[in-house]
């Protein structure tokens, strides 16, 4: 996104999830994100520089940081829509993962 600094917390995973503390919303987002595959979870309070680098305006925010970038804000409760938005390879088994949607 034209950012001059590389995210300091980047461990190299394609998916990066920014959270704020350990609220129910954040835990739900982490659970949903992990269902998609390996993900770096970054708490903005511990690493504001990373939030700055990726221009995070809200939490949770899921970032796909490979050659097919995408950003999704929210607790990812509609995982099917999340997969659809992220595109391949995350949209591969859409029907099977519908049950991963959160139960309030």
């Amino acid at each position: 996104m034209g950012s001059p600094f590389p995210p300091s917390s980047c461990k190299g995973q394609a998916l990066r999830l920014f959270v704020f503390g350990q609220s129910e919303t954040m835990r739900r987002a982490i659970r949903n994100a992990k269902a998609l595959g390996p993900v770096d979870v970054i708490d903005v309070r511990e690493n504001p520089a990373a939030a700055e680098a990726d221009r995070i305006l809200a939490t949770p925010t899921l970032i796909r940081a490979d050659e097919m970038p995408a950003r999704i804000v929210g607790d990812l409760r509609d995982l099917a829509a999340v997969r659809l938005h992220l595109g391949p390879p995350y949209d591969a088994d859409l029907t099977g993962d519908a049950s991963e949607s959160p139960h309030s």
Binding site: T25, P48, T59, T61, A70, R71, L76
Partner: protein, 554 residues
């Protein structure tokens, strides 16, 4: 009342806010797009950075590079400040293509701001923060619902943390509803209107907790060094800084004025078209510069070349004054910008260059730009500023012919000296006249004098006063000639009479001598005759006696 305030970095604004923005509180600057909100933010931050305070700009619309460019354009060493850790920009613009899925929270914004403010190791509250177009942040995700609460809670957190914050927001009803009443302690509204095709910008403080701020609409302008307001002078006075008189370099004029003009005083020259106002200004310029004063001549009517040419035609040569730097001629066109901007420009020039004298030819050009009340109040403030800075201000007011010589601006109370030039009509010609309506604290002449524009500059002459009336111009010459003829006649007759007086006694004495001679002659003749007769009679008597005796007596 327990509120500390911090300087705004905008010339003139601190005074209106009775000190500056509220420390440790959010202040909102509202206004339509393009009215200068961002510049107020940047000046606030630049003021902070220049004082060594960590200053952070959060942008929700403009690209950070653009803001850096603005800072450079305003003349701020933004790259140096950035390198020194005194200035940084936080990019709060929404990322394009971001989608929403589920609930979220914007507390991360405060985390980012805190991190930026404390980047030097200080507390966030030690820095200065500006958030440009905060309303964009609120609507990044949800135009109606959650976002507003998020914005409000951000503002609440900023206040709780004691961060001095300046926020801008576009002037929408939503911003008004959601921000003004609840979340901020001070609100400044910027407004721009186009009237008579000229843009006017005004500023109003609509809310400021605990501070006795100015409540009017204050005009402001934006130029290459950012926004600025008309400086407000200390109304409590000591601004009467007239300090001695300076001669105008024109003896008759000085005599008329009772000595000259006050340094740091104010002079108004009023008159109808063609009565010599500019020429008088030229004469004064030459004289004041020769007396060593520095002077700025602001003209709305002619450019420098025309003005110099016209003055040269009446024997006033201002080129030496320009060469030695005592005089500067500023050409302004009244249609270039609004009234406020003109006056703010003048006021800022006075503050910056601090000339000894300022000529405005003519202030009437400004009355085209605003209603008389506005013009008057703006002029009053300009005069006030000049006085407080010890600058002699010379204003020219053009009276329209239909005005019957009544001043439209009418600010006598602020004037130290008031010169009225008039065209006097008589017997087929107009004659220029000058009189001093007012000259504070000086023994000014109360007489009306002739104001002649000659090839050697201004010549002030006495009118013909005689036969119970005053006459000027050609009529004066005719009267004077007639009087001269009459006088000559009388003088000649007087000489004649004097001669006669000298001659007459002699004439009479000559005549007396003649008479005496004749009288003596006559008397002598009479005496001779009497003597002859007596002798004859005596002789006759003697003869008779001799005859009688000879006859033997009786």
């Amino acid at each position: 009342m327990g509120f500390n305030q911090v300087s705004t970095g905008v010339p003139g604004l601190d005074a209106i806010l009775a000190g500056g923005y509220l420390e440790a509180s959010p202040t909102l600057v509202m206004g339509q797009p393009g009215c200068g909100k961002t510049l107020f933010l940047l000046q606030f931050l630049a003021d902070g950075a220049s004082r060594g305070i960590r200053s952070v700009c959060a942008t929700c619309t403009e690209a950070p590079e653009r803001l850096d460019d603005y800072m450079r354009a305003l003349g701020h060493p933004v790259d140096q400040w950035t390198a020194d850790g005194l200035f940084s920009i936080i990019d709060l613009r929404p990322v394009p293509g971001e989608v929403i899925n589920g609930t979220m929270d914007q507390s991360v914004v405060k985390v980012r701001l805190d991190a930026a403010l404390s980047a030097n190791g200080g507390a966030p509250a030690d820095g200065r923060l500006a958030i440009d177009e905060l309303n964009r942040l609120a609507y990044a995700f949800d135009p109606l619902g959650v976002a507003r609460d998020q914005t409000l809670s951000l503002l609440r957190e900023l206040r709780d943390s004691g961060i001095t914050t300046l926020i801008s927001s576009a002037d929408t009803q939503a911003a008004r509803d959601s921000l003004v009443d609840y979340a901020v302690d001070a609100v400044i509204e910027l407004c721009q209107t186009v009237e008579k095709r000229l843009m006017t910008r005004t500023l109003r403080v609509t809310k400021m907790r605990g501070v006795a701020h100015g409540t009017n609409e204050y005009p402001f302008m934006i130029d290459e060094s950012g926004p600025s307001l008309m400086p407000v002078t200390n109304l409590e006075g000591h601004h009467r800084s007239r300090s001695g008189m300076v001669g105008t370099g024109h003896d008759r004029l000085d005599a008329l004025l009772g000595g000259g003009l006050y340094r740091g005083g104010s002079l108004m020259i009023t008159g109808t078209s063609g009565c010599g106002k500019s020429t008088l200004c030229g004469q004064l310029s030459a004289g004041l510069c020769a007396a060593g004063l520095s002077l700025v001549y602001t003209t709305y009517e002619q450019d420098q070349g025309e003005l110099l040419h016209d003055f040269a035609g009446v024997g006033i040569d201002l080129r030496p004054c320009l060469t030695n730097g005592k005089l500067r001629i500023e050409r302004a066109r009244s249609v270039d910008c609004g009234l406020e901007e003109h006056l703010i420009r003048l006021a800022r020039m006075v503050e910056k260059d601090h000339p000894d004298a300022l000529i405005i030819d003519a202030v009437t050009s400004m009355t085209d730009l605003g209603d008389p009340i506005t013009v008057k109040s703006m002029l009053l403030r300009l005069v006030d500023i000049c006085k407080s800075r010890g600058v002699l201000i010379i204003m020219v007011e053009l009276l329209s012919d239909s005005q019957d010589s009544v001043s439209q601006i009418g600010m006598s109370s602020l004037l130290d000296t008031w010169i009225r030039l008039e065209l006097h009509r008589q017997a087929g010609e107009y004659v220029r006249l000058i009189r001093v309506l007012k000259s504070r604290g000086a023994n000014a002449s109360q007489q009306i004098k002739e104001f002649n524009i000659t090839s050697q500059g201004v010549v002030i002459g006495d009118p013909y006063a005689g036969g119970g009336s005053f006459v000027f111009g050609t009529e004066k010459l005719v009267r004077e000639q007639a009087e001269r003829q009459e006088f000559d006649q009388k003088r000649r007759r007087l000489e004649r009479l004097k001669q006669e007086l000298e001659v007459l006694p002699n004439t009479f004495s000559a005549r007396n001598a003649q008479t005496n001679i004749e009288r003596d002659k006559t008397l002598d003749a009479l005496r001779a005759e009497i003597e002859d007769l007596e002798q004859a009679m005596d002789a006759a008597g003697r003869d008779a006696r001799v005859v009688s005796e000879a006859r033997g007596g009786t």
